[in-house]
Amino acid sequence: MSDTIAAISTSIGEAGIGIVRMSGRESIEIANKIFRGKNVEDLKDAENRKLTYGHIVDPEDDQIVDEVLIACLREPYTYTRENMVEIYCHGGVVAVKKILELALNHGARLAEPGEFTKRAFLNGRLDLAQSEAVIDVIRAKTDKSLQVSLNQLEGSLSAKVKDIMGILLEMLAHINATIDFSEDDLEDLDYEALEKKGLQVENQIKKLLDTADRGKILRDGLNTVILGKPNVGKSSLLNAILRENRAIVTNIPGTTRDIIEEFINIDGIPLKIVDTAGIRETENLVEKIGVDRAREMVNKADLIIAVFDISKPLTEEDHEIIELIKDKDAIILLNKTDLPSHFDANHLKDLLPDKKIINTSIKNNLGVYELEEEIKNMFYSGQLDIESDVVVTNLRHKNQLVKALKNIEDSLEAIRLNLPLDCIEVDVKSCWENLGEISGDTISEDILDKIFSEFCIGK
């Protein structure tokens, strides 16, 4: 890890300020080559962790690239525990890109995604939960999800998990005390009390898990698929939404060349729209990518927007789509209300009785607002109070919680079956360890300390 990495650490095109960041032994030297300070000749003399004013200059042609503030952060007291340089320039695409290019031309290499965090992590700067939260910060698509990530960084997830571990520790200490000190006159362990504590753990893990899906959505964006037969108005719909909300980040090629993912943001709700617009409007989507792929796409979706053309009767292809979305979260758009209707809306309502139906004329921008309102409605409906709630945003954390839940459920089952304590303990302990892997601390001495502090033991 001796080389120096560089990257743009702000989203392109969004902010007023752009930041280019470098980490590694030669960061300051590299910065020196492209920086002309007003008062500071050599960045090696720049005060640690203080901003220095000057210009980024391309040494090739002495052209000024941008007016910047630059900060030199010296190891080991930096985010990565390496030498770091941060260059604050004007926002927008041109300046940041040019500065990054200059850094790369003068000895740095482009950082891989998450590499700053990886270095921080490998240099012992972050614990597991924190470092993954930082990765989430990097990936966070919107302000609201950023807030959740920051919360986690502050340790609110860790704190919640530690609360649950506290209950488990009590259970473990009690079980083990009665096992290892069976001749001391300790209170007999009553299975009912044990079950009660187990149920508390189960509930709290479930609560955390409930937030996990919303958490994932906040991080990755709602996986949204627009479905509809050719010429129904899918492209216009996407353009309408994009126009209003401005596509951010970048286009990421999908799994086939025909599918493209767009990230947009509706009032803080990030949407990852799987855009099938790349499929020529003349082609049948299902035919083009195959029924299985279409079904897979639909299954993976958090939200489906199905568009129907009311100027024409329902076709076989419409029915295929209805079949696909029957059991999914979907919003139905009846498009082209500006044209005469040849469409049996009631029949559709019968086929999809629980779906919200919105009449639109996308061409005239009618109904797009209602669509956005409905999306917000469906996923927040006031339930998610991001500011105060702990939200599980990380897949690994979620997986650990799922494992923990399974283990506590198994132990509750064992308690109800009146199985012996040594069996019950296996699952309780596994549950405790699953949670410990979220916050990164599972130390078996804890159990002994708890035993000795709470029980009068020793013959």
Partner: protein, 637 residues
């Protein structure tokens, strides 16, 4: 005193210093593996002495004894010869934590062990106080005794117990002494210091011994042994094992006890700060218990015989370092001890021990070749913990001399592995006692299957006898055969079967079930299916127990086996012992310091060192991966 005149007293492969529980196992293992072995003790009468409680086994400890036995050690066989009461603890709490705990006739235990040692080929037993360990170029060369005898030795095992600079405290009185009134070893500590080995002080305590005739047993609860007695040694299992049992008694302290202690607390050296040693939390003095748990109205006191040929009774639960006169007063406040006569007073004892993190998992010193440490000198407590370490040190001294790989049991294989890994990896801040809670894999490390787990390993290194090995192999085969048979015997849902199940309080079956599947039901035992299993042959009890446990807990055992597989992954990632961790970039400073101190032999061991974070472990894994790639590249060049 003039200059000590030295003479050459003989030449040995392995020299064991100390004849306690660690020393005995070490010396026997070494001699049985064919090494010319010398055992030195300060007093032949203290061989296999039990200076504190008169019992062997208990939770966790009983597991150790079974494991020692499975590997060809002596403790289990010896206690089976000298046992005067036997109980299986925790029978209601599941098979993994069943623990055999027996009362010993202390004198008999000593005499029987001494006989075994005296009869052992390749083993010389000699009384003598070692005052110096001779080391040249970081390799041990021999030992010197106080009387000038120099013994040449290829390997030396230190098993000195609590004798090093032993100091006894009874109230304001304190004096240099070993346990039980034996002389302390005052000079050996300095020899260790000269070798650069740091010493620290631990303490432990022992209650008073009182005269049997002065006790009013009518006020106490009698505690008889089990009706059906199980031997400790696997070698005695298929025999009709019977012992004459004597009872123990249970009584309680009174409010007066508490009052006496509170009034005299200032006279305890533990509270006045005179004792510097650290005592064990699980073995507190009575004054400790009363101070720490003031709400508890009464504390248990067990009265246990010290042997069949003595009237000395051990008063379990009332160890104390209060002055003798206060001790007598407080003992007399205990129900049934109103007129008690003291024979030996309670005391606290403080002694030198090492920080066991200077040892490898073979129990060899990290830097001094062929110098081994075992037992309480390593900061452990208990006869069983000592014996287990003695056995492993003995085996590894032999393997070192042979030039073979060390014998290391890991945490998934044995409680012995847990014990040694804990000591050398984490160290200990108090005398270390085994508990089942220390094991991550309790359900697979049971006391009933120690032979199935370990005997083959003991056989491979040449310690387990052919007889024992064949016995275990036969047992394994019988268990597997019976398990297979139970899978193949299938019952179909008919009235007879379902009535039978109903009589056992079990739900009827609707499809065909094997007997194997039926035994999985919590309310059904192997025994209870006899009536619907006409082809069943009568099998020895130990086989029946194994069969039932393996079926009933199959699900849990499988879970643990999966965990063990995970655990083994990191254990297999070996770290070289000469690795300088400060050369690895990315490790935290604390990790570098700890890793350089402990020198773990695998990433698994490293992960258990406190202060080494998951991030550090990732760095180590990345480092090993880098090294592997470098090696590969070099090969390709």
């Amino acid at each position: 005193m003039g200059e000590l005149k030295k003479y050459n007293a003989g030449s040995y492969d392995v020299i064991v210093i100390g004849a306690g529980h660690a020393g005995c196992e070490a010396a026997l293992a070494s001699a049985r593996m064919g090494m010319k072995t010398l055992m030195l003790t300060m007093n032949l009468d203290s061989l296999a002495d039990m200076p504190c409680n008169p019992n062997i086994g208990g939770t966790g400890k009983g597991h150790l004894v079974r494991e020692i036995d499975a590997l060809g050690g002596e403790m289990a066989i010896n206690i089976d010869k000298s046992c005067i009461q036997s109980r299986m603890l925790n029978t209601s709490k599941g098979p993994a934590v069943h623990s055999l705990r027996v009362q010993a006739d202390k004198k008999k235990y000593h005499t029987e062990m001494k006989k075994v040692i005296e009869d052992q080929a390749n083993l010389d037993l000699v009384q003598g106080e070692v005052i110096d360990i001779v080391v040249e170029k970081d390799e041990v060369k021999g030992v010197l005794t106080r009387t000038g005898a120099f013994y040449d030795g290829k390997a030396v095992i230190l098993a000195t117990g609590t004798y090093l600079k032993g100091k006894i405290f009874i109230g304001e009185v304190n004096y240099e002494s070993g346990p039980g009134g034996y002389s302390p070893s005052k000079l050996l500590s300095d020899s260790l210091k000269r070798l650069g080995i740091e010493l620290r002080r631990f303490k432990t305590g022992s209650p008073a011994r009182v005269h049997r005739d002065s006790i009013d047993f009518s006020k106490m609860d009698i505690q008889p042994g089990d009706e059906e007695v199980v031997p400790f040694s696997f070698m005695n299992m298929d025999q009709d094992f019977k012992i004459d049992q004597v009872p123990c008694y249970l009584t309680y302290t009174t409010p007066e006890t508490k009052e006496i202690i509170m009034r005299n607390l200032n006279r305890s050296p533990l509270y006045s700060g005179e004792v510097e040693g650290v005592g064990p939390r699980y073995c507190p003095s009575i004054e400790d218990k009363i101070v720490r748990f003031p709400d508890k109205e009464k504390h248990q006191v067990f009265i246990e015989p010290e042997g069949l040929n003595t009237k000395e009774m051990y008063v379990q639960g009332v160890s104390s370092s209060l002055p003798e006169e206060v001790q007598k007063e407080l003992y007399r406040s205990i129900i049934g001890l109103e007129d008690v006569k003291f024979m030996r007073s309670a005391y606290a004892i403080e002694y030198d021990c090492i920080d066991p993190t200077i040892l490898k998992r073979s129990l060899e010193h990290m830097h001094i070749k062929n110098l081994f440490f075992a037992g309480q000198i390593n900061g452990s407590s208990g006869y069983e913990e000592a014996a287990a370490q003695g056995l492993i040190a003995g085996i590894n001294a032999v393997l070192n001399i042979r030039g073979d790989e060390p014998f290391i049991l890991d945490r998934s294989e044995a409680y012995i592995g847990v014990l040694i890994d804990d000591l050398v990896t984490k160290g200990t801040n108090e005398p270390y006692r085994m508990m089942t809670a220390r094991s991550e894999y309790r359900l697979t490390l049971r006391q009933d299957n120690a032979d199935l787990r370990l005997t083959e390993k003991g056989y491979k290194i040449g310690l387990v006898t052919e007889e024992r090995y064949q016995k275990t192999m036969k047992k394994k085969e019988m268990i597997e055969k019976e398990l297979e048979r139970l899978k193949s015997v299938v019952v179909t849902p008919n009235k007879e079967i379902n009535d039978f199940l109903d009589s056992l309080g079990s739900v009827p079956i609707k499809t065909a079930h094997s007997l194997y599947d039926l035994i999985k039901r919590p309310e059904i035992t192997y025994e209870s299916l006899r009536d619907i299993d006409p082809e069943r042959q009568s099998l020895p009890k130990e086989i029946r127990i194994q069969v039932e446990i393996q079926i009933k807990y199959e699900g849990y055992i499988k879970k643990q086996l999966a965990q063990i597989e995970q655990f083994k992954k990191l254990e297999r990632k070996k770290l070289p012992i000469d690795l300088d961790y400060s050369s690895i970039k990315g490790l935290s400073n604390e990790a570098v310091q700890k890793l350089n101190k402990i020198k773990p032999d695998s990433v698994g061991q490293a992960s258990r060192i406190s202060g080494v974070s998951p991030a550090d472990i990732n760095v180590l894994l990345i480092y090993l991966e880098q090294k592997r790639r470098e090696k590969k590249e070099n090969k390709n060049d």
